[in-house]
């Protein structure tokens, strides 16, 4: 067992699950989405991005790219939350849909990561 693999796998999957947890629920319902979870999703996603840097292989580049996409989507969601004056259901819907996009990117990267792990002979 490789500790480094455990740590990076942990963060990649945690980024996805937190993202899913935030997006889950009726998009227009403000009470179904907590800002703490969005914060956690963004932080973990950033950490996952840093962990992906440094692998110059083909699959490493795609992993990094998908992570960057997730970061941008989440940052956009956070920005909207910050600048909005009063939270209404329309704003919340925008935020949730942005994080939904990030979720897609996270899912892609986790699938790639699992695929790479399965391919590895060690």
């Amino acid at each position: 067992m490789n500790l480094q693999k455990v740590i990076s796998g942990f963060f990649f999957i945690l980024a996805m699950t937190l993202n899913f947890g935030f997006s889950y629920g009726d998009a227009q319902n403000i009470e179904m989405h907590t800002n703490y979870e969005l914060y956690a999703a963004l932080v973990v996603s950033l950490i996952a991005t840093i962990l992906k840097i440094g692998d110059k292989t083909q699959i490493g580049s795609v992993l990094l790219a998908s992570s960057l996409v997730a970061d941008i989507q989440l940052i956009a969601a956070v920005l909207i939350w910050t600048v909005t004056d009063s939270m209404d259901s329309a704003t919340m819907a925008t935020i949730v849909s942005l994080s939904g996009g990030a979720l897609m990117a996270n899912v892609t990267s986790v699938i790639l990561y699992i695929g790479e792990t399965l391919k590895s002979k060690r």
């Binding site: 914060y39 950033l46 840093i50 440094g54 956070v78 939350w81």
Partner: protein, 561 residues
């Protein structure tokens, strides 16, 4: 920025970035969770944005104060933790970033990237120069003066820094790297079509051989201009097929040969190198006894030549064991030449020529000074290994100074900048005195003391009219170009010296039929140079010269009919 450099920065910054993200996120979360009291005494929580704002200016030690309301003691307790956590993380990251930016590997990568980009952006043909030393510095200047692009590589950063201070440095892509590696040569663009030649003048001659072999496998169309003073290395170099090797000692020997039997060839050579004009007096080496000081690479070639011409000589050297033949003939003195007694013993008072040819410049100059005192009539030849002491040698009043570096500079730059002149020189050194005298006299009487040289290549750009006619199947003789535009029956003052057609070289061509791609070297004056250019490129002038009639303009002719 180059790809590699970006990766180096990102990889080194991984840990610091992780540290920043983790410390910030802990601090921000704490700030949001801990309740505060606003100005009305109500309990409130900082928003994530407030917390991020506060932590950002605290971590970077800017410190705007407590916002939006004054903190409670519980909050301040947490802020204390935040300060120690984030400030340390922040400084660590900044420190690493600065270290990475001043890192040698990164700097090298950045330089390599810039170098590669500049080499790829070169529009014209270029020449790769390996190593920056006195010889190559002069070669670079001569090539630049001939509008040839140059790329420079040297392993030492100090030398490159010295080079960058020169005023011709700005137009030359330059890199610090080991020239003996394939990768460096590839970076320098050796595989590109526009790369014409590699100049490799390393002191250690096996390096030159290595460069020649690498080049042969990377791009066999590239010439390698190099030097060799040892015969083994020289043959190996020639065996690579692409190396043009110069051996300064053999060049000197050949000149000695010429000076002994055909000094007018020497006049021609000096004229082509622009050292003197044709009226310069021919150097006849005096007949008589020769003293050779130093029996190394130079002494050996000199001895061969003197043996060949049957000239009496004596060799002085203290480090070499003489052969049996030398002892029997009494032509070797095993002693230090820089000594009055030894020179007297060698018979300096009855000798005609002294050659100071040791490896040490100061020894050579000292020998010359002693010899001048002992025999003021002596003809002095001295070898100068490096150009550092050139002024001392010049002051010493030496009849013939043999400068190894200068020969290399002249040969290399001529070969690259003007291959036709170089080919001409290579051919004439095998001619005899009679041939030399007649050519010198012909040039002097027809053109003047200092004729100019011009190249003409039969291509569409350089000689449009000729190119058109020859392509159409007309047969045109070379002496068409020599006729005068004032009167087609007379000739102007140019003399064709060499015609190069593929690998064939014709010395003093006369009535050859020209072909496409021919390269012709003319000796001429300013006026005849213009005439040749007009005849070669203007269809009306060419027509007049060939037929003696003005060519009718087709369009005008139709109109006036």
């Amino acid at each position: 920025m180059d790809n590699n450099a970006l990766w180096i920065i990102l990889q080194r910054l991984r840990t610091p970035l992780l540290v920043i993200i983790i410390t910030y996120s802990i601090a921000i979360l704490g700030m949001v969770l801990i309740p505060g009291v606003d100005d009305k005494g109500d309990i409130y929580h900082l928003t994530f944005f407030d917390a991020f704002y506060f932590i950002s200016y605290t971590a970077s030690t800017i410190g705007f104060g407590e916002t939006p309301y004054e903190f409670t003691y519980t909050q301040r307790l947490w802020v204390l933790v935040c300060i120690y956590l984030t400030v340390v993380g922040w400084f660590y990251a900044i420190g690493t970033l600065v270290a990475v930016l001043s890192d040698k590997t990164l700097k090298n990568e950045l330089m390599k990237g810039r170098f590669r980009k500049r080499v790829r952006a070169l529009k014209s043909d270029f020449i790769i120069i390996l190593g920056y030393n006195h010889v190559n510095s002069q070669v670079i200047q001569k090539l630049l003066a001939n509008d040839l692009a140059v790329v420079l590589v040297d392993i030492s950063e100090d030398k490159i820094n010295g080079f960058l201070l020169e005023d011709f440095a700005h137009s030359i892509p330059v890199m610090v790297a080991d020239a003996l590696l394939t990768e460096t040569l590839k970076d320098a663009g050796i595989e590109m079509d526009r790369c014409q030649a590699v100049v490799s003048h390393f002191f250690k001659e096996d390096k030159n051989l290595r460069i020649a072999i690498l080049t042969k496998f990377l791009n066999s169309n590239v010439k390698v201009i190099t030097k060799a003073t040892v015969r083994d290395t020289m043959t190996s170099l020639i065996d690579t097929d692409i190396a043009k090797v110069e051996n300064p000692f053999e060049i000197f020997a050949k000149r000695l040969d010429i000076a002994l039997i055909a000094p007018h060839i020497m006049i021609l050579e000096n004229w082509i190198y622009k050292n003197y004009d044709l009226t310069h007096e021919a150097t006849f080496l005096p007949q008589g006894r020769y003293i050779i000081c130093g029996y190394g690479r130079m002494g050996k070639v000199v001895k061969e030549k003197l043996d060949f011409h049957g000239i009496e000589y004596v060799i002085i050297d203290e480090n070499v064991i003489p052969t049996k033949e030398m002892i029997e003939n009494n032509t070797f003195i095993s002693a230090n030449a820089d000594d009055r007694e030894v020179l007297l013993e060698a018979g300096i008072e009855e000798s005609a020529v002294l050659i100071a040819g040791t490896q040490n410049d100061i020894d050579n100059i000292s020998i010359v000074l002693t010899a001048q005192k002992l025999n003021s009539e002596l003809y002095l030849i001295a070898r100068e290994n490096t150009m550092k002491e050139v002024s001392i040698f010049e002051a010493a009043n030496i009849d013939w100074l043999f400068m190894i570096e200068k020969i290399l500079i002249n040969k290399t730059s001529l070969q690259l900048a003007n291959p036709l002149k170089h080919a001409f020189l290579k051919l004439i050194i095998y001619k005899d005195e009679e041939w030399g005298t007649s050519l010198v006299n012909l040039l002097k009487s027809q053109i003047g003391a200092n004729p100019k040289l011009m190249n003409l290549t039969i291509t569409e750009e350089r000689a449009y009219a000729l190119y058109r006619e020859i392509e159409a199947g007309e047969s045109i003789n070379l002496n068409i170009l020599l006729k005068s535009l004032r009167d087609w029956k007379s000739y102007h003052n140019a003399i064709p010296l060499l015609l190069k057609r593929g690998n064939e070289e014709i010395l003093l061509p006369h009535d050859e039929v020209m072909e496409l791609g021919d390269q012709i070297l003319f000796a001429c004056d300013e006026e005849s140079r213009e005439e040749i250019e007009y005849i070669a490129s203007n269809i009306y002038d060419l027509h007049y010269i060939r037929t003696g009639e003005e060519k009718k303009n087709w369009l005008l002719g139709k109109i006036f009919k």
